[in-house]
Subunit: 338 residues, 2 copies
Amino acid sequence: MSHLKIDIHTHILPEHIPKWKEKFGYGGFIQLEHYEPCCARMIRDDGVFFRDVEDNCWSPEARMKECDVLGVHVQVLSTVPVMFSYWAKPSDGLELSHFLNDHIAGIVQRFPKRFIGLGTVPLQAPDLAIRELERCKKNGLVGVQIGTNVNQCNLGEPQFVEFFTACQDLGMAVFVHPWEVMGAEVMQKYWLPWLVGMPAETSRAICSMLFSGLLEKLPRLRVAFAHGGGSFPSTIGRIEHGFLMRPDLCAIDNPVNPKEYLTRMYFDSLVHEPIMLDYLLQLVGAERVALGSDYPFPLGELQPGELIESMPYTEDIKRRLLCDTALEWLNLGKEIFL
Amino acid sequence: MSHLKIDIHTHILPEHIPKWKEKFGYGGFIQLEHYEPCCARMIRDDGVFFRDVEDNCWSPEARMKECDVLGVHVQVLSTVPVMFSYWAKPSDGLELSHFLNDHIAGIVQRFPKRFIGLGTVPLQAPDLAIRELERCKKNGLVGVQIGTNVNQCNLGEPQFVEFFTACQDLGMAVFVHPWEVMGAEVMQKYWLPWLVGMPAETSRAICSMLFSGLLEKLPRLRVAFAHGGGSFPSTIGRIEHGFLMRPDLCAIDNPVNPKEYLTRMYFDSLVHEPIMLDYLLQLVGAERVALGSDYPFPLGELQPGELIESMPYTEDIKRRLLCDTALEWLNLGKEIFL
């Protein structure tokens, strides 16, 4: 049986990015250097190479062609996390967000059966982030993607409460993706910031949102975490035990057991390991796990949904993982995409 | 059926610790302030409180009494990781190691059926560490406990190869325990350095030892990792996928797939979660998992072996987890303890 397949974790860039350094008068931003018709380099404006990308990173047509081959019906689009640029001046961060969000909104308007859009917001200035959140909603985006920390401030800190409250009130979904990862500076070799730092970052973000009481304050906030929640699900036993043994350290802002939130959050399915997917489903249930592939990047699931489809699950559960959970997280009906 | 129960992850301190600051002329060391007959505070010599401890942290008699109640036959003793003090001057680190190791060796000599000893070594000076490793072996210790990094240098770095080679050649087991954890400075609230940082640290250490080729060079090195390997086992899918997709970043020093090492390392059982223990056993096998409780600390398993005994495993598998794997890791025969 073939299910509607929605991929909640895909990244996209505009084909051409303004030279922000020239415009803003300081550097640190990512540029795209097109060196062949379908190939470009992401390069920081100080000349440091970041990553090679191909046209499936910017062309909706190229993406749809690949999706047709891969059997993916709908992609949830979000920017590439290096674009967050929370370190930029607030007004510049706002302008950058405008630009990226208008691009994604335009694609969704052109191909509403194939793409769903998440915006990015300048969380270095939560008031501006709320303003941009509202604009995103007006332009047809259904949520935002944010980092696991904002200039190393944790998401449960008081300055972000108003922003998350606005997300809940506006019904905007939140996708939390690791960036500016802890420990990157001490493990530069072997891609360890991606392989070790990112999973830890996601656990850091979840723990901060739980222990601070943010999720308790906002029971209707729909928040999903990348990479199957990183190292959080596998260490929830340790986290809960810490909470129970040292409430003087862990329960200072919220008396609720962290396990209570396992079924209030969403997770993508990007764990790369059948028994780990099984673990995640046993822990949080299929109602909380949605296909996410990290398309079009190589650390992602190259055949989106392959792991889910390989599992000995019922068709009902597979439909949940490939489609229904995504729609619930995004608060969208299936009929739009049929 | 009752099995011989060996707990590979327990910490111990001497009852009295010299005032190293006075002796060495600079501070940063941990002192013990006894304020009641069975209670003491671990305090850094600049006055910063670290942790309350009770007499089961220093008294072998108190420990044996508790072990009798808890059904633990043998404890593997190692120092409390805050004592590593890799930041100290090498000769001072050596003196500190001497002191701690002689204390543990003395207990093992007095109670050889109840305790097994691991030493600590001044890894800030690998040549001195090797010298102390040899002394440990002569004094009846069967291995060492080390940190997940040495002043933020990773364990796979070339300066440590000789030390690990000596561990292999001398047949000394290695227990890797997280300390000086990444990200601690940006997540001080909610005990997150323990709940998020420590699991990441252990993955960092394992990845560095794998990708650098250290474990490939030393096939007879017997190395165990605390807390069920931290976040490494749950993210091995991501780690392997990264290795396969970006050999230019991951395979620069070792062409072997990281999954190959899953069955060459040992892990303690301290995961606090039945389905996570199941996951670990499916991944690495019961031959690679040994009871570890983090006794006498509250983040540990308060009833050592309770999780293992609660599982629907065969008696053969339980015996492996409670005893046989530990003996293989330590290269000891069971008869010593009967």
